[in-house]
C-alpha cells in the first residue's frame, strides 16, 4: 500500500474514488499518527469514535462524487463544531460545546469530509508562535524545540506531521501563512469575504478570514474550492458564484507581470531569505513572467495600524466572554462587576489581556481620533497602494516571514519582536486581499522558508496558478524523520 504520509490530499481523494482506500482506513491511519504524535500537542480535542462512525457511514455510500469523499480532516479550534468542544485555545471556553456548525466546516462535511478533531491554536488566535494557548504550546515537527508559528500552529504542525491530510486555519494578520512558512506547508488567506466568518470565534472581524493549509498548491485549490461560499448569514460575505479552483489550476503563467515591492526589503533580513526571494524571481523570469519593481509606500505603517485595528475590534468582540451566558465563570466575587473581573481575569491569558487593554485604550474617548480613526485612514492608504500596484502587475512576490521558525520561548517575553514576525503578512489583511505562502526552501539549519504571493481581490485562481508554477520549479522537499514517534 502507498505511504499515506507522503502523498497529497488530491492523490488520496483519487485513491478513495478508485476504492483503493476506504474512509475508515484513512481515519485509522490518521488516528494512529495522532496517537503516536501526542508530544507535538497539536490537538485540543479529538473525536475518534465519531470519526470512525462517520467514515463507516461514508464507506457504505454508493456516491463518492464530492470534493473530499470520506476524507478525515482536523480543523483549527476556532471553528465552532456542533457537539464538539470549541475552545479557541482559551480557558474561558474550556468547556464550550457549540450547538451549531460554522459555515466553513459545514462546507467541508458537505463535500464528504469527516472531522478528526480540533487543533491547538493561540488563544483567540492572538499570537505568532502558538505559545499563548491555554492548552500549552505546540511543537514544530521540523525540530523539537521550534515553534510551529501561529496562530494556526496546531494546524500547521498537524499537517506537516501528517496527522491530517489537509486542514483549515484562520488568518487575521498572517495566522495561516506564517505557520505554513514555518512548517514547510502551503497556506492561503483568501480575499476578505470569500469564506464565511459565520461560526468562527471572532478575533478581529474586519480582518479574520478562514483559509486552507495543505501540503501542496493543488490541494490548496481543492480545499479553497470546498470551503469558500457566499453566506447570507455573514453580511461581509461576497455574493459570487463558486469557482472550480482545482479544475482550472494550470501552470501557464507566461506573459504575466509580477511586482517586487521594494519596501519588503527590510533591515536585518537574513541573507537566506533575500536569496530565496531572488530564487523565486529567477524562476518566474524563466517561466516567461515579467518582473516589475513596485512601491507600496505605506507598508511601514501596516504593523502599527494592524496593532491598533485588530486589538480595537478584539476588545469589543471578546466582551461577550463575561461568565453570564456560557463558558468559564469565576465563583469568586460579591457582585456582577466582581464576577466579570474575576471571570475575565482568570479566563483570559496575558496576550489576550494585553490586546483587550490596547484595544480598549485606542477606542477610548480622547484617544479614538489619534489612534483608531488614524489607523483606519492609514488602512485606506495601504489598500490604495495595492490598488495602484495591481494596475501594473498580476501579483506581488514577497517573502512570507522575516525569519524562519524560532525557538520555543525565544520571543515570549518580547511582544514587539513577536509582532514583527507579521510584518510581511499583515498588509494583506488590512487590504482584504488574498495571499498564499508556499514553501520555497530551507535555511542553513534546515528550517523551511516560504514565499508569499499576493494578488488582487478575488483573483485567487491566478494566484494559485502562479504558485503552482513556482512550486513545480522550486521542488521543495520536506525532510521529516518522524522523530516524535
Amino acid at each position: 500500500m502507498v505511504d499515506l504520509n507522503n502523498i497529497s490530499l488530491t492523490e488520496i481523494v483519487k485513491l478513495v474514488k478508485l476504492k483503493k482506500v476506504s474512509s475508515l482506513e484513512l481515519t485509522n491511519h490518521y488516528i494512529k499518527n495522532i496517537e503516536k504524535g501526542k508530544k507535538l500537542n497539536c490537538f485540543i480535542t479529538t473525536c475518534f469514535d465519531e470519526t470512525i462512525k462517520k467514515s463507516k457511514t461514508f464507506d457504505a455510500k454508493k456516491n463518492y462524487d464530492s470534493l473530499l469523499p470520506g476524507i478525515p480532516i482536523a480543523v483549527k479550534d476556532l471553528f465552532c463544531t456542533k457537539d464538539v468542544k470549541t475552545t479557541a485555545g482559551s480557558k474561558i471556553l474550556e468547556n464550550f460545546v457549540p450547538t451549531y456548525e460554522s459555515t466553513v466546516t459545514s462546507n467541508l462535511w458537505k463535500e464528504g469530509a469527516v472531522l478528526l478533531g480540533k487543533l491547538n491554536c493561540d488563544e483567540f488566535a492572538m499570537g505568532s508562535s502558538n505559545e499563548t494557548s491555554f492548552f500549552g504550546n505546540v511543537i514544530n515537527p521540523i525540530e523539537k524545540d521550534l515553534v510551529p508559528g501561529g496562530s494556526s500552529g496546531g494546524s500547521s504542525s498537524a499537517l506537516a506531521a501528517s496527522f491530517t491530510p489537509a486542514t483549515i486555519g484562520t488568518d487575521t494578520g498572517g495566522s495561516i501563512r506564517q505557520p505554513a512558512s514555518f512548517t514547510g506547508t502551503v497556506g492561503l488567506k483568501p480575499t476578505y469575504g470569500l469564506c464565511s466568518r459565520w461560526g468562527i470565534v471572532a478575533f478581529a472581524s474586519s480582518l479574520d478570514q478562514a483559509g486552507p493549509m495543505t501540503k501542496n498548491v493543488e490541494d490548496c485549490a481543492l480545499m479553497l474550492e470546498a470551503i469558500s461560499s457566499y453566506d447570507k448569514k455573514d453580511s461581509t460575505s461576497i455574493n459570487k458564484k463558486k469557482e472550480n479552483y482545482s479544475k482550472n489550476l494550470n501552470k501557464n503563467i507566461k506573459g504575466m507581470k509580477i511586482g517586487i515591492p521594494k519596501e519588503y526589503r527590510v533591515d536585518n533580513m537574513p541573507k537566506e531569505i533575500e536569496q530565496l526571494w531572488s530564487k523565486g524571481i529567477d524562476i518566474l523570469k524563466k517561466s516567461g513572467v515579467k518582473i516589475i519593481d513596485i512601491s507600496l509606500p505605506h507598508t511601514k505603517y501596516a504593523l502599527p495600524t494592524y496593532y491598533i485595528v485588530a486589538p480595537a475590534e478584539a476588545s469589543s468582540n471578546l466582551a461577550r466572554y463575561d461568565g453570564v451566558k456560557f463558558g468559564y465563570r469565576s465563583n469568586k466575587g460579591k457582585n456582577l462587576i466582581e464576577m466579570y473581573e474575576n471571570t475575565r481575569g482568570e479566563g483570559f491569558g496575558d496576550e489576550v489581556k494585553r490586546r483587550v487593554l490596547i484595544g480598549t485604550y485606542v477606542l477610548s474617548s480622547g484617544y479614538y481620533d489619534a489612534y483608531y480613526l488614524k489607523a483606519q485612514k492609514v488602512r485606506k492608504l495601504i489598500k490604495k497602494d495595492f490598488d495602484n500596484s495591481f494596475k501594473k502587475v498580476d501579483a506581488i512576490l514577497t517573502p512570507s516571514t522575516p525569519s524562519s521558525a524560532f525557538k520555543i520561548g525565544e520571543k515570549t517575553s518580547d511582544p514587539i519582536s513577536m509582532y514583527l514576525n507579521d510584518i510581511f503578512t499583515v498588509p494583506v489583511n488590512l487590504a482584504g486581499l488574498p495571499a498564499i505562502s508556499l514553501p520555497a526552501g530551507q535555511d542553513s539549519k534546515g528550517r523551511p522558508l516560504g514565499l508569499q504571493l499576493i494578488s488582487n481581490s478575488l483573483d485567487e485562481q491566478r494566484m494559485l496558478n502562479i504558485a503552482f508554477a513556482i512550486e513545480s520549479e522550486i521542488k521543495f522537499k520536506q525532510n521529516l524523520n518522524r522523530w516524535w514517534e
Binding site: A88, P98, E313, S316, A319, L336
Partner: protein, 489 residues
C-alpha cells in the same frame, strides 16, 4: 377663535424661569423579527423563548440587518419630514451589563439613517414646529429582573435585539404640555405609518427627557440634566416640573447645575442622580465591522414615499377644507387614525355636521366612560350614520335621538329597530300637532294673555308643554310654526 398666549414660566419671588426640554424617544419598530436576527418580537412570551444564538451573542454569531426595519425607519423619517441619509453606519456602543449579551449594543452614532426633520404641534396658542435632530436604529437590550430572588438577578433576553428607533428632538419644547402634545403627535404619526404601536405600557415607547432652565429673555441655554427612561406621558410631565423646580432652586441659591443623568422616582415625584458627567460611560463607539455601511437607493426612498399613507396633518387639512370643520375638531378626529376612519365611514351616508358632533360629544363620552377605544365601540359607524339620518329626515328629534343612542350603546342595536319597537318616531302630522297645540293653549289661557301683553319669555313654556303632551315626539320645527301662528290669532 382668539388664541391664548403661551405662558409656561415658573415664577419665583424675583424671577421668571423658562424651561427648555429636548426628548430622546425610543420607539419599538413594528416588525415580526428582530433588527439583526430572525427571532420573534412578540410581547409577553415566556422568558428566553424568543432568543436566537445571535441575540445571546454566542461565539461566531453575526448580525444580519432586517430590511423591513430599515423600511420602517425610512417611513418614519418621511413621516417626520426628515432627510433620509442614503448612507448610514451601524456602530458598536460598548458597555458591560448582564442583559447586554455581546457586551455592546449595535446602534448608529455618527451617521444615522434619518437626519433633520420636524413635527408640527397644535397648541392652544397656535401651531408650534418642533425640530427633529435625527432618527437612528438600534438594538434593545434584554431585561434584568431583580425582584424574583433576594440574591439573584434573572435575565430575560426576549427583548434583546428588538429594533428601536431613537428619535431625538431639538431642544425646542418649552412646557410639559408641549411635551405631552409632542409625544402624542409622534405616536399618532407612527401609528398612521404602522411603524410603532406606541404602546407605553408594553414599553414600545419610552423617552429620555433633557431638561434645563434659563431666565425668561435669556438666550443661552442652561446646563441640562437627562432624565432616563420615562415610560408614560404623565410621568414625563411630572418629571419635567419637578426637575425644573429643582434646578431653579439650585440656581437661585447661587449654585451651579451639574450635568448628569437622573432617574425619576414616580412615587416621590422627584428626580435623583444616577451618574454624573465624570461617571458617564465611555462607550468606545466604533463602526461595527460585522456590518457593511448601509447604502440605500434614492429610488427605494421614493417608492416608500409614494406609498406613504395619508398622515395626520394632511388628513386634518383635508377635513378642514372638504368638510368645513374647525381646526380643533379636525385635530380631534385625526388624533387617532381609527377615529378618522370611523368618522369618514359615518359621513359616507350622513350629514357631516351632525356626524362630527355626535362623534366628538356623544360617542367620545361613552367611550371614555366605558374605557373603550373606537375599534371596540358598541355603536358601529353604520348604525351611527343611520341614527343621524333619522334626525336629518325628521323621523326623530335630536332629543329622542339621545334616547335611541343610549339603547344603541347598551345593545348595539340598529337605531331603526329601536325607534320602531319603542314607538319613538317623531309626530310630524300638522293636523295632529295643531290639535295638541290647541289643547295646551286652551289649558293655559291666562299665560296666553300674559304672552300677548308682552311676556314673550313664556314662548318656551308653551313649547315645553307641547313636547310633554306629545311625549317628546312632536316635530319641533312644525310645533314652532303652528305655535307662532296660533299665538298670533
Amino acid at each position: 377663535m382668539s388664541k391664548e398666549k403661551f405662558d409656561y414660566f415658573i415664577k419665583t419671588e424675583n424671577n421668571n424661569w423658562e424651561v427648555i426640554i429636548g426628548l430622546e424617544v425610543h420607539a419599538q419598530v413594528i416588525s415580526n423579527s428582530k433588527l439583526f436576527s430572525g427571532s420573534s418580537t412578540k410581547f409577553g412570551g415566556k422568558p428566553n423563548t424568543q432568543v436566537s444564538l445571535v441575540d445571546a451573542a454566542f461565539p461566531g454569531m453575526l448580525p444580519v440587518i432586517n430590511k423591513y426595519c430599515i423600511e420602517q425607519a425610512i417611513k418614519t423619517g418621511l413621516g417626520l419630514n426628515a432627510k433620509i441619509n442614503l448612507l448610514s453606519i451601524f456602530d458598536r456602543k460598548n458597555y458591560f451589563y448582564a442583559d447586554l449579551p455581546a457586551g455592546y449594543q449595535i446602534s448608529q452614532y455618527k451617521n444615522p439613517i434619518v437626519g433633520e426633520g420636524s413635527v408640527t404641534l397644535d397648541m392652544p396658542y397656535g401651531t408650534k414646529v418642533v425640530g427633529i435632530e435625527r432618527l437612528h436604529l438600534e438594538q434593545d437590550a434584554g431585561k434584568s429582573i431583580h425582584d424574583l430572588s433576594p440574591d439573584k438577578t434573572y435575565v430575560d433576553l426576549n427583548r434583546s435585539g428588538v429594533a428601536l428607533m431613537e428619535i431625538v428632538s431639538k431642544p425646542d419644547l418649552r412646557s410639559p404640555d408641549e411635551v405631552n402634545s409632542y409625544v402624542k403627535k409622534l405616536r399618532t404619526i407612527m401609528r398612521y405609518l404602522g411603524t410603532c404601536d406606541g404602546n407605553m405600557q408594553e414599553g414600545s415607547l419610552r423617552a429620555d427627557v433633557n431638561v434645563s432652565v434659563r431666565k425668561k429673555g435669556e438666550k443661552k441655554f442652561g446646563t441640562r440634566c437627562e432624565i432616563k427612561n420615562v415610560n408614560s406621558i404623565r410621568f414625563m410631565e411630572m418629571a419635567i416640573e419637578s426637575e425644573a423646580k429643582r434646578q431653579i432652586e439650585i440656581l437661585e441659591s447661587g449654585k451651579k447645575i451639574d450635568q448628569e443623568t437622573r432617574l425619576f422616582d414616580t412615587k416621590k415625584n422627584e428626580t435623583r442622580s444616577m451618574r454624573s458627567k465624570e461617571e458617564a460611560h465611555d462607550y468606545r463607539y466604533f463602526p461595527d465591522p460585522d456590518l457593511l455601511p448601509l447604502e440605500i437607493e434614492q429610488s427605494f426612498v421614493d417608492s416608500l414615499k409614494k406609498n406613504l399613507p395619508e398622515l395626520p396633518d394632511q388628513k386634518k387639512d383635508r377635513f378642514i377644507k372638504d368638510f368645513k370643520i374647525s381646526p380643533y375638531e379636525a385635530n380631534v378626529l385625526v388624533s387617532d387614525n381609527n377615529i378618522s376612519l370611523y368618522f369618514e365611514d359615518v359621513i359616507k351616508n350622513s350629514d357631516i355636521k351632525l356626524a362630527k358632533n355626535w362623534i366628538i360629544v356623544e360617542l367620545f363620552a361613552v367611550l371614555n366612560k366605558k374605557n373603550l377605544d373606537i375599534k371596540n365601540s358598541p355603536v358601529s359607524s353604520k348604525n351611527l350614520a343611520k341614527l343621524i339620518n333619522s334626525i336629518s329626515s325628521g323621523e326623530i328629534s335630536g332629543k329622542i335621538a339621545k334616547q335611541v343612542f343610549e339603547v344603541m350603546v347598551n345593545t348595539g342595536d340598529d337605531p331603526s329597530k329601536i325607534i320602531k319597537e319603542k314607538g319613538l318616531k317623531q309626530q310630524s302630522d300638522p293636523k295632529e300637532l295643531e290639535k295638541i297645540v290647541k289643547i295646551v293653549l286652551d289649558k293655559n289661557t291666562d299665560k296666553v294673555q300674559q304672552f300677548k301683553s308682552g311676556k314673550e319669555k313664556l314662548y318656551g313654556f308653551f313649547v315645553g308643554e307641547i313636547m310633554k303632551a306629545s311625549s317628546g315626539k312632536a316635530n319641533p320645527k312644525l310645533v314652532n310654526d303652528i305655535l307662532k301662528k296660533e299665538l298670533k290669532k
